[in-house]
Symmetry: C2
Subunit: 219 residues, 2 copies
Amino acid sequence: MSKLSRAVRDPVVEPPDRREQILDAATRLFAEHGFTDAATQGLADDLGVGKGTLYRYFPSKRELFLAAVDRVMRRLHERLEQATAGVEDPLERVSLGARAYLDFFREHPESVELLIQERAQFKDRERPTYFEHRERHVDRWREHYRKMIASGRMRDVPVERISDVFTAALYGSVFLHYFGGRSETFAADATDILDVLFHGVLSDSERVKRTSADGPGGT
Amino acid sequence: MSKLSRAVRDPVVEPPDRREQILDAATRLFAEHGFTDAATQGLADDLGVGKGTLYRYFPSKRELFLAAVDRVMRRLHERLEQATAGVEDPLERVSLGARAYLDFFREHPESVELLIQERAQFKDRERPTYFEHRERHVDRWREHYRKMIASGRMRDVPVERISDVFTAALYGSVFLHYFGGRSETFAADATDILDVLFHGVLSDSERVKRTSADGPGGT
DNA sequence: GCGGGCGGACTGACTGGTCAGTCCGTTTGC
DNA sequence: GCAAACGGACTGACCAGTCAGTCCGCCCGC
């Protein structure tokens, strides 16, 4: 009886769980010590399992690491999806997306570390995980820019340029903020970044609605 | 006589030369293989010297690496200085600076790699080299923004926000461009980035001079 | 029911290989 | 001839990955 209910509720420790547990601990450890300095023995110790067990779930340290990075990126994009779900207005969507992007990395600084580690340690990879994921989603964002240009809400600038600069600003902000340490001071707030970016991207008519510019000037 | 003049001009193979040679080779090697996978033996081989010699100039692999990073950053700032030397107009200075910044990293991709490697391998460092250098120079840039705000050429936005977003966009652009591989497509061109950034930063009056915005829109 | 045995999840000591850093013999320049 | 500079063999630490063995839950034959 107790045996049966146990079998249903807590069957030994079902493998999928174990895999996730390993990924959790690995993410933490890799983020804390870096790929090279994170010893698999330490990971096993953290989990309270034998080292051999790790290799039952992942063929190598490298694959384990990459699985952790991939999971992080999947979660980022899920988060973006959630944040923008049901919102129709493209401008609103972009704002929410940017905010969610920054929030995600602020809430999960270990994700930033993992991206850095991937770039640093696996130079051989044709394309880092970050880009693989970005490429799968960037088109949707560009579509929003196109719509806004069509409706006269954005200046007619190549959408690739818009998305590239947006990405660069957000990406750069995440990294600088994460690196810089002095979290409070670096512009991590989406509002600040969007303020600057939008006023380069929005059409005049859209722009005057949200800003009070001032003074004359000349070159 | 020849001894004397030689002692002054070229004492033996002056250590500074040898030191620079080592740094050159180390920069190349670290950038190519990453810190961990760059073996000091390989470096010695590249240079055609014994491994012991390296340790006559640098106390450890770590110090050697950090010296290389530091040199890179010094060179970047020299380059920025040069690029803007003699130019009075603050707007012009900022443009030239941004351009020089991107050019520098495009011409020296190994510098990007070194910055990544530093962050990845030396998590213990209070502040990465990049920031140490940035902090020594950022005030000057902010001064330009202040001037432009005062003269009505920029919107009255906190200068910290301006410099943070500018830095983020440039920094992000360098990294994305470097990572992304497909160099041609990513907006690495300063003109594109500045176009977007300036129109969020410049005052209306300054803005109308350089853009033709269009169409209406509304939220 | 019940015991024997089967499968497979798990363990951790061990191996093989890698390298940073050392150290002393040698060479070079004066 | 004597420093100072150099070379490169050597060592000690470290660690990913392995594998022979253990342990435990379950199933099957009685």
